[in-house]
Amino acid sequence: MKIRVFREFTLVELLVVIAIIGVLIALLLPAIQAAREAARRMQCTNNQKQIVLAMHNYHDTQQFFPWGARDDWYGTWAMQVLPFIEKNQIAVEYKWDEVYWDGTNLQLLKDLVIPTYTCPSDGNNNKSISGFPEDRGHNYVVCMGREGVYLLYLDNDHPENCLIDGVVYGRESQYRAMFTGSCYPPGFSPHSLAYPLTTRFEDIIDGTSNTIAISETIQGVSATASGYGDCRGGIWWGDFCHFTTNQVPNTTYPDTSYIEADSALQDRHPLTLVNTSTSDGTGRYTRFSARSWHVGGVNAGLADGSVRFVQDQINLAIWRAVGSTNGSEIESLH
């Protein structure tokens, strides 16, 4: 008859095993976190694809792409795309000749969170970016070109007045963006508000695979008692629904806004005040670069419906080239 003899573990052996398990967990945990972030990034890619496809469907019915923004309060691309992401009940009641923050529109947009417009990597959880309930933060913004400023109080009759730092912006620029905004002249009445220029497929002469439609921004930190706070990610608000390819993604060169920044995001995504008193005669404008919480870059949806991850260290010449629809630049993201 055989008798099995079990030798007991020594303390050292036990400690070694525990140490090995500890090392393995330490190795695995960051890997799991990275996998989770990769999953979120993939979800973000999917959201952007849905939005561009929705814009294509919009084009099928309207024969043009959604416009960027009408003034600061009279609608953006985000409202126009709603029927094509199965939010028609909001779109049919929306009043286009009223501001988005009052009356019926306020009731529709109050505390409205659209998951398709939200990047899962943003930890701000759609909190209000201005302190008002109709300004819940979202992440996707449309490309307003390689110069990309959205002008408020632009004199539509004299576009040559739209100089900022000596550069002509808006309609007179040689580069056209896929999305544009329109503004009213000083002393306007809302009924005279013009609809912005729209883009059709045939206007994208650089090719839809070489033109950016949408990309990401970060949700601004909620307003403090002292002011609006950082309003980036306010996609219902004309001034904040866009981005430019003027600077590389996630640049540490600050964005520009006429609303003061909260300090919370300043290290990674800085924001400064615009100069409202330029001798050029224009006042307020906003300018935002593509930004995200993904590591090392942003997702960008091209006009053909493909979505690409663009690295922070992309050659700026390429990034600017894909920001315009008609530059005849030879560069492409491929």
Partner: protein, 146 residues
Amino acid sequence: MRYLVFTLLLLPIVIGCSNSNLQGRVPVRGEVIFDGKPLEQGDILFLSIEGSTPMVATGSLIKNGKFSLSAEKGLIPDQTYSVQFRSIEKIPSTRNETNKPSKDRTIRIQTRSILPRRYGVESKEIVTATKKSPNVFQFDLTSDIP
């Protein structure tokens, strides 16, 4: 000996995950002086001069005259950059100068530039980053002579 081999095998796993800096960029820091005093706040932009490949634009906020860029957001050695500066201050106003949200959502903030225009888009300041030495730059800006 066996432990040494094990450690050596483990090293690349641990190190390999760090973010790669593909273009061999170098960190940059420095100081911006305006009329003899450090520029309190503002921002600085480095932009590749015409014809550089790849084209680089990077910048940062200036706080109490100081700015710094990490290697990842830094400059490519042996490339020449034009440097632009911006510094905007609020104009104190007698009526409702705050940024406070109001019911009619008007924002009456007024600002102006502290620096002369020649430090903006038309700036003539030029720097070249080097591979070895610490890239520390000092810029002396002056206001217009009336």
